[in-house]
């Protein structure tokens, strides 16, 4: 009876250790532990049948299964984000979450201000809190996954150089990318993304409409169309944030940064193109209004064209900004990263 009990307990102990270990070494370690426990019992009992107490003492000497498993497999692949990446993770998370929270707050205010229908303030605040919590979960998940990928790929903190000669030289002042600029880029990207996603109606013109009394305003874009394309907006800003993060940790203009800037520029441009050229993105009320007020001026055609194709104007501005960014990074990388 006791023997059967011991046998069962040994099996359970070994299983508790090996289940935490990589599959390919489990069988061998389990055989090894079985023979170790047999040896320890043999020594303790000098050939007599071991009692439950003997086995308990032996297992206590071996320690808790999780400690033993940790001795066998220290630290390997145990972390989603290991201590060496934790600093990066924490600072990124605080920048991103703080900016998102700020963006959500501004978006909440704007929504209340521009709401077409009468609203109940407590209800709006509750709604805003709900959206804010959801809105904070996404960037949290994104940053976690991003840093976990860095961890797996050994990006940023891979100091596996074989020779001190390979250590990067200290960048001169003009070669450095200022931390503040990157943080500013990240913050601004997030603010803009949040505002665009949650209050597309905030981009509007203020006017005295003929029929109404006092000030009124018309949104430039169709909120529903923008909402339907949320994935393009998200992708656009994710790329931009990833690029700024890369910049932040690179700290200088390098060739790989230039390559990534070109790559992210192309993707951003595609997103911007698909987004701004989407059908019915312009609010017809806005285009009609513009046509109305400018039809009598001398440069009517040009002005009306510009305003009714504000989406294309936006695309041109974005394309120009992307082009300048690529040009700046590529030229500096060619000059400084030799």
């Amino acid at each position: 009876m006791s023997n059967q009990f011991n046998h069962d307990l040994i099996e359970r102990y070994i299983y508790a250790v090996t289940r935490q270990l990589p599959y390919k070494i489990r069988e061998d370690i389990s055989k090894e532990l079985q023979s170790l426990i047999d040896d320890m019992l043999l020594e303790r009992c000098h050939g007599k049948l071991p009692t439950q107490t003997d086995l308990n003492l032996v297992l206590t000497e071996l320690g808790k299964p999780e400690d033993l498993a940790r001795n066998y497999n220290p630290d390997q692949d145990k972390y989603l984000i290991s201590p060496k990446y934790y600093g990066i993770y924490k600072s990124l998370l605080s920048i991103v979450l703080a900016s998102t929270a700020l963006g959500m707050t501004i978006a909440g205010f704007l929504n209340i201000i521009f709401s077409q229908n009468p609203i109940s303030l407590p209800l709006e605040i509750l709604k805003w809190m709900g959206t804010s919590i959801m809105g904070l979960i996404y960037p949290f998940a994104f940053i976690t996954i991003l840093v976990a990928i860095f961890e797996r790929k050994g990006i940023f903190v891979d100091l596996n150089f074989s020779d001190f000669q390979d250590l990067p030289k200290v960048p001169r002042e003009q070669e450095k990318i200022r931390k503040f600029d990157c943080v500013f880029e990240i913050t601004f990207s997030i603010l803009f993304a949040v505002l665009f996603l949650f209050t597309p109606n905030a981009i509007r013109v203020f006017t005295h409409l003929p029929k109404s009394s006092g000030m009124s305003s018309i949104p430039v874009f169709q909120a529903e169309v923008i909402h339907n394309m949320w994935f393009l907006i998200v992708l656009f800003f994710l790329i931009s944030i990833t690029k700024s993060t890369f910049r932040l940790y690179e700290g200088r203009y390098t060739k790989r940064l230039a390559v990534f800037t070109v790559f992210s520029g192309v993707i951003s441009l595609i997103c911007a193109y698909l987004f701004t050229q989407a059908k019915e993105i312009m609010n017809p009320d806005f285009t009609n209004y513009i046509t109305d007020i400018f039809s009598k001026t001398s440069d009517a055609a040009f002005i009306i064209n510009t305003f009714t194709h504000l989406n294309t104007v936006f695309l041109a501005i974005i394309a120009f900004a992307i082009f300048l960014d690529i040009l700046n990074v590529v030229i500096r990388a060619v000059i400084y990263d030799k």
Partner: protein, 114 residues
């Protein structure tokens, strides 16, 4: 961390590297894990089986030891470890370093007025 804990963690730090040297010194002939625990303990070096077994496996992974399962006199199979040629090189380098350390520590402690 209280006094006792601090002392024991300092001593553990000091012992850590010496365990490997002790283990390698005894593996010119194949020895199984628990026997090695006893050999070391007879010489005054107490190493728990739960530290030694994972260590042997790690050293094997580094090519310093090799192992094979053997069954002797109808007993259950046991895993025997023996030092490899590469392991011997490491052992000699480590023991030279150890001798140097011992003599310099001896001199430092003799000079010390503590």
């Amino acid at each position: 961390m209280d006094r006792e804990e601090l002392i024991s963690s300092m001593i553990m730090e000091l012992r850590r590297g010496t365990i490997i040297l002790g283990v390698l010194s005894q593996l010119n002939e194949p020895v199984y894990g628990y026997n090695l625990v006893n050999i070391l303990s007879d010489c005054g070096m107490t190493v728990e089986a739960n530290t030694l077994y994972p260590l042997l496996r790690r050293l094997e992974g580094q090519g310093i030891l090799s192992s094979r399962w053997e069954t002797e006199d109808n007993s259950k199979p046991r895993k025997y470890y023996v030092i490899t040629d590469f392991g011997k090189e490491i052992y000699h380098a480590m023991s030279r370093q150890w001798s140097d350390t011992v003599s310099s520590m001896k001199e430092l402690m003799e000079r010390s007025s503590l």
